[in-house]
């Protein structure tokens, strides 16, 4: 049967009458709140409050409740003394590798695979990662994250990125591995390269944050300030130096809504599961390798070799070479190692910044390699320059302020 044009329109009208409801759109409170959170004047204070809540809940849950409240007692008062009493021959190599220092009275200082290794991965990093991913998922699923992307868009354009770069940046605060993968949401190779490089250098992961909270709670603000300063400075330079485009984006902002519990649980489980699979073996293997290198005298030889660079240029003790090697396996592990090296407050601060900006951990390294070996090589070249220049700059500022 062939329908004429008029008949077709008649059918269309009939369908439309039965399916389309007409009315006037009424703005809701949610709509107005949504608008207010993307306008800079009202949106910036809300973003500042969201970050405040994020950090405060992170510290209270991971720091005060789980790690300080339960894990420190469990590991230091029960696990460590039991292990020290049952493991045979404290003078043996296997005692040094698996239990660590026989005189240590806490798991941070023992530095054995079964003491520091387990304490860092289960007692410190796991609670930090759990609460981080919970809050991240809530922000994502409530519809706040796209608004944050709109809000920071103009700022990020100054360093060659756009608003959605906030997603890999926040993900990077949990773990750099999914963050590097998330750089694919950026449009051009230039943007992806800048984001990947800045992630590897200036964004500390959740594990690192958890350990920093334990080791240098009073200096975290200062370390963050240095990392944010470096992020903006080197982002600006990279944007000027690297050829390529920074296209504008159109962001689809969904309405605010309550996160669905099943989705939150599923996302959290998937993220935590992959983190546990990747992180725990690396921490244990990292402690094992560093202890073996200590036993073989490799760390001591490297420390002696790099002494002029570390002491003169960076202003940190030569013993930080050991943690820097461990830092390639896990940066959280490296910061835990720093806590037992005797040094001044300034040296501790400079060492933590150095470890943060130094080589990405091996898991991130592998993911960066998957994104392209040329990009990886270029990112590493930038990284060496940044570590050398920024590390020296921090030392110079320390000397000028009379604290170094």
């Amino acid at each position: 049967m062939v329908l004429s044009t008029d008949s077709r329109w008649e059918v269309v009208d009939r369908i439309a009458r039965r399916t389309v409801a007409y009315g006037t759109y009424k703005r809701t409170l949610g709509d107005v709140l949504g608008e207010l959170t993307v306008k800079p004047l009202t949106g910036i204070p809300v973003a500042v409050a969201a970050l405040f809540a994020f950090w405060s809940i992170f510290c209270s849950f991971a720091g005060a409740l789980v790690t300080d409240g339960f894990m420190v007692k469990l590991f230091d008062s029960h696990w460590l003394p039991w292990l020290q009493s049952v493991w045979p021959d404290p003078a043996s190599w296997h005692y040094f590798v698996f239990v660590g220092d026989p005189l240590a009275d806490n798991c941070f200082e023992a530095f054995g695979v079964l003491t520091s290794g387990l304490f860092v991965s289960i007692g410190v990093v796991l609670p930090a990662i759990l609460i981080f991913y919970l809050m991240m998922t809530v922000l994502e699923d409530s519809g706040y994250l796209p608004r944050l992307a709109v809000l920071v868009d103009s700022v990020l354009h100054r360093i060659g990125l756009h608003g959605y770069a906030i997603v890999p940046m926040i993900l990077g605060l949990g773990c750099n591995v999914p963050a590097v993968t998330a750089t694919r949401i950026l449009e051009t190779r230039k943007q992806r390269f800048i984001m990947m490089t800045l992630l590897a250098i200036f964004i500390p992961c959740g594990a690192q944050l958890g350990v920093m909270l334990e080791v240098i709670p009073d200096m975290i603000g200062l370390v963050f300030l240095c990392l944010i300063g470096g992020f903006c400075l080197f982002g600006y330079i990279l944007n000027k130096v690297i050829p390529g485009e920074n296209p504008e984006i159109l962001v689809d902002v969904p309405p605010y809504h309550w996160p669905i519990r099943e989705n939150v649980v599923k996302k959290m489980w998937n993220r935590t599961k992959s983190f546990l699979k990747e992180a725990v073996p690396f921490v244990l293997f990292g402690v094992l390798l560093v202890n073996l290198l200590y036993l073989g005298g490799v760390i001591q030889a490297l420390a002696a070799f790099f002494e002029p660079l570390f002491v003169t240029w960076f202003g940190v003790p030569k013993e930080t070479v050991g943690p820097l090697i461990a830092g390639f396996l896990r940066k959280d592990l490296a910061i835990a190692q720093l806590s037992v090296i005797p040094m001044t407050a300034y040296q501790m601060f400079a060492s933590v910044v150095l470890i943060s900006i130094y080589f990405p951990c091996v898991a991130t390294f592998v993911i960066m390699l998957r994104e392209g070996w040329k990009e990886l090589c270029a990112a590493l070249a930038v990284l060496f320059v940044v570590v050398f220049v920024y590390g020296g700059l921090i030392h110079a500022i320390g000397i000028l302020l009379g604290v170094a």
């Binding site: 107005v32 009202t42 500042v48 405040f52 405060s56 209270s60 849950f61 409740l65 409240g69 420190v72």
Partner: protein, 154 residues
């Protein structure tokens, strides 16, 4: 409706002024203008940048939002500003209460047991309180207006 709008506006304006004053006090005490003070159940310790300077800034913004929304407070646009101000106070008070809960669940470093006793846990919530926690019950009026949809939806 007119009468309700006026009364709500006066209440929200006053609440905004008090919130603003509390936020400024948080920042001034942190900056060392006053070395921390306690009046009755209210305490501003001012010993930590994150809690008092950063948190104080958020309280200042909350106060300003409430003041800005107090004129014709029950219109949709204005009530959204008031709600945003209330949310900021709830963020600060909520994180303060959450921090107390987290600190009071474990028994403490010296105690042999892991969990705090019930009396120890409840005792951890005794006064003094920071300004945001004291302001919390007064901001519940905003929640009431929100749930009863007292604002103009047209």
């Amino acid at each position: 409706m007119e009468q309700k709008n006026k009364i709500s506006g006066i209440y929200i304006g006053l609440l905004g002024l008090v919130t603003l004053a509390c936020g400024l006090a948080d920042i001034f005490v942190w900056a060392g203008i006053n070395p921390g003070f306690q009046v009755g159940i209210l305490e501003i310790a001012g010993d930590d940048f994150f809690r008092w300077a950063w948190g104080g800034f958020i309280m200042v913004c909350a106060g300003l939002f409430m003041i800005a929304g107090s004129r014709n407070a029950l219109s949709l646009q204005q009530f959204a500003k008031v709600t945003l101000g209330g949310v900021l106070v709830w963020v600060i008070a909520g994180t303060d209460i959450f921090a107390r809960i987290c600190e009071n669940i474990p028994a403490g470093e010296e105690a042999p047991e892991f969990l705090n006793s019930l009396s120890g846990f409840i005792g951890g919530f005794a006064p003094p309180y920071p300004p945001a926690v004291i302001l919390l019950p007064f901001t519940l009026v905003i929640l009431y207006l929100l749930y009863t949809q007292a604002y103009d939806t047209e």
